[in-house]
């Protein structure tokens, strides 16, 4: 009985793997990427299963092979590998190639799921929401961001690792099937919609360039002169002020010259059109493999030039 227990992981062991999996990327290197981090996460389990120096050495080498995926989506792969290691340690015929095959086979598709969900949707949406709170000087911004993100993340790490552990080899089919695809698609719909909202709202582009100046005829302008005169003579009445407000509300002009800036013209055309065009150009440049840093540098030059000539402000 005791002999059998040696190969069966307890919840405590699995929690230990879960905790360590958060440090998956600590020694990320360009050669084998997350390899040491992977071994580091597996160590609590390996320590329990293998006691001789030879066994431990083989186990470590097995888990120091190349590995790279989305740092959170490594959790289900860890779960599956734990099951495989359990079976191997208890004497079943599972060779290194099988374990390697499962790891490599899962990491590619899972990275493709994790990137749009976590980096593409949840973090930008949560970040944008928190930033809007922070900009109105609300402390809830950073607090909500930090708590919500880490609750979602830790719950995902633990439950997907458990799913992998319980399901074992079956998980590969589950993930390839509808559920993950649905999740990715749903998240992408939400993400793209919110991005559509954010682009015009939070990209600040203002064109103060004056397009036209038109003198406003006297009868289309609020008569402030009369009010000022009345005030000087001490005969200003409430009715006069009420009249002024009514005139403003009925659409009479306040200034003697009506100035139309490029911004006004663009707003009449379609609000937010300039940020939209800017974003689409950036997407196009990214598709042409221009690096983001180059685009940012280009925008700095463009913004500065635009400011100097008075087009942007």
């Amino acid at each position: 009985m005791a002999e059998e227990n040696k190969f069966k992981l307890t919840k405590r062991d699995r929690l230990s793997v879960f905790w360590r999996s958060q440090f998956l990327q600590a020694s990320w290197n360009f050669e084998r990427m997350q390899n040491i981090g992977w071994a580091y996460a597996m160590i609590p389990a390996l320590k329990k299963m293998y006691t001789t120096k030879e066994d431990r050495s083989l186990a470590l080498k097995r888990h120091l092979e190349f590995f790279n995926t989305h740092p959170y989506l490594a959790a289900p792969v860890l779960g599956v590998t734990l099951t495989l290691e359990e079976q191997k340690a208890s004497g079943q015929e599972i060779d290194n190639a099988a374990i390697q095959g499962v790891k490599i086979g899962m990491m590619g598709p899972l990275a493709g799921v994790g990137d749009p969900i976590f980096w593409g949707t949840i973090r930008p949406v949560l970040g944008a929401f928190a930033a809007s709170l922070a900009l109105s000087e609300s402390w809830l911004g950073p607090i909500i961001f930090f708590l919500a993100w880490n609750i979602i993340r830790m719950a995902f790490l633990w439950y997907s690792q458990e799913l992998g552990y319980v399901q074992g080899g079956n998980i590969t089919q589950n993930l390839a099937g509808g559920l993950m695809q649905k999740l990715t698609q749903g998240a992408s719909v939400l993400g793209m919609f919110i991005l559509g909202v954010l682009v015009p709202r939070w990209t600040s582009m203002h064109f103060p360039l004056v397009m036209s100046r038109v003198d406003v005829p006297a009868d289309e302008m609020v008569n402030f002169g009369a009010v000022a005169e009345a005030a000087n003579e001490g005969i200003l009445s409430g009715d006069m002020l009420r009249g002024v407000v009514q005139e403003i509300q009925s659409g009479l002009s306040i200034a003697p010259v009506e100035v139309t800036t490029l911004q006004n013209t663009l707003d009449e055309l379609l609000p937010g059109i300039a940020p939209l065009i800017l974003t689409l150009v950036c997407v196009w440049l990214l598709r042409k493999k221009v690096s983001p840093i180059t685009i940012i540098a280009g925008l700095f030059v463009l913004g500065t030039l635009g400011y100097v000539v008075g087009l942007l402000g």
Partner: protein, 265 residues
């Protein structure tokens, strides 16, 4: 500034450096890092504002596969020290954040190359079956990533405030004005990076809808979030690729995505 603040700032910088590679707790995200630095230096509101603004710029900065994104950790930490401790303006902090993000990117690429040697050292220890040594190398690499931000942070703290102020004052007005204008525009690059990763022809429809609705100021982000979730659920219910059982007809128009868009219009 007293010693406790200095220790706290360097500690936050260390956390941000570790998170820059781990990407788990998000201490490197501007909204968290700038706020914490602001708290440590005694200027929390400035830190909060800077964090909120930088967060919008950094929305799309993500490490995908082996590609390394601009580094949010150094950008947030260093610009937060300049703003909340040395008294630079928030817009100056944002303008400085971009070159800092590039510097941080270079540093992390350097460390990620250095850790190749650590991987080989771990291999040797693995032959001996030493779990402890492998753990030691792994955590050691993490410490280097932490120092990657903590050391520059300590250097920026040590520079005299007069020097920073003089340097900032030496920047001509047309440049600061221009940088402020550009700062508002570079948010678009972050959006574009996210869009570029997710967009398929069908999804552009939802982008277009969001854009049109954004003109309605009464709909705040929470309302928009509800609309977005409803759209996503409706999409999953009705999209032909998730309803194969419902009949093959739905797939017939799936051949040409452009055709789909035109039909939808």
């Amino acid at each position: 500034m007293d010693i406790i603040s200095i220790v706290l700032v360097v500690f936050v910088a260390f956390l941000a450096g570790m998170e820059g590679i781990l990407d788990q707790f998000q201490f490197h995200q501007p909204i968290v890092a700038c706020t914490l630095i602001g708290l440590a230096t005694g200027n929390p509101t400035q830190g909060l504002l800077l964090g909120g603004t930088l967060q919008l710029i950094a929305l799309g900065w993500m490490n995908i596969g082996a590609a390394v994104a601009p580094d949010a950790a150094l950008a947030s930490v260093a610009s937060a020290i300049l703003v909340t401790y040395h008294g630079a303006g928030v817009s100056e902090g944002i303008a400085l954040a971009i070159p800092l993000a590039i510097a941080g990117q270079v540093l992390t690429i350097f460390v990620r190359t250095l850790t190749v040697a650590i991987a080989h050292a771990a291999d040797r220890k693995a032959t001996e079956g030493s779990f402890r040594a492998v753990e030691f190398y792994h955590i050691g690499a993490l410490m280097i990533q932490g120092l990657r931000i903590a050391i520059p942070a300590a250097i920026i703290l040590a520079v005299s405030p007069e020097l920073v102020t003089n340097a900032l004052n030496a920047i001509p007005g047309w440049l600061t004005g221009g940088l402020a204008v550009a700062g508002g525009m570079i948010v678009a690059v972050g959006y574009a990076m996210v869009i570029n990763m997710m967009a398929t022809p069908k999804l552009w429809l939802f982008f277009a809808l969001g854009f049109a609705l954004s003109a309605i100021g009464e709909l705040n982000l929470i309302a928009m979030g509800i609309i977005g979730v409803v759209l996503a659920l409706l999409y999953l219910q009705f999209a032909p690729e998730f309803n194969q059982g419902g009949g093959g007809g739905g797939n017939s128009s799936g051949g040409d995505p452009l055709d789909d868009i035109l039909n939808d219009y």
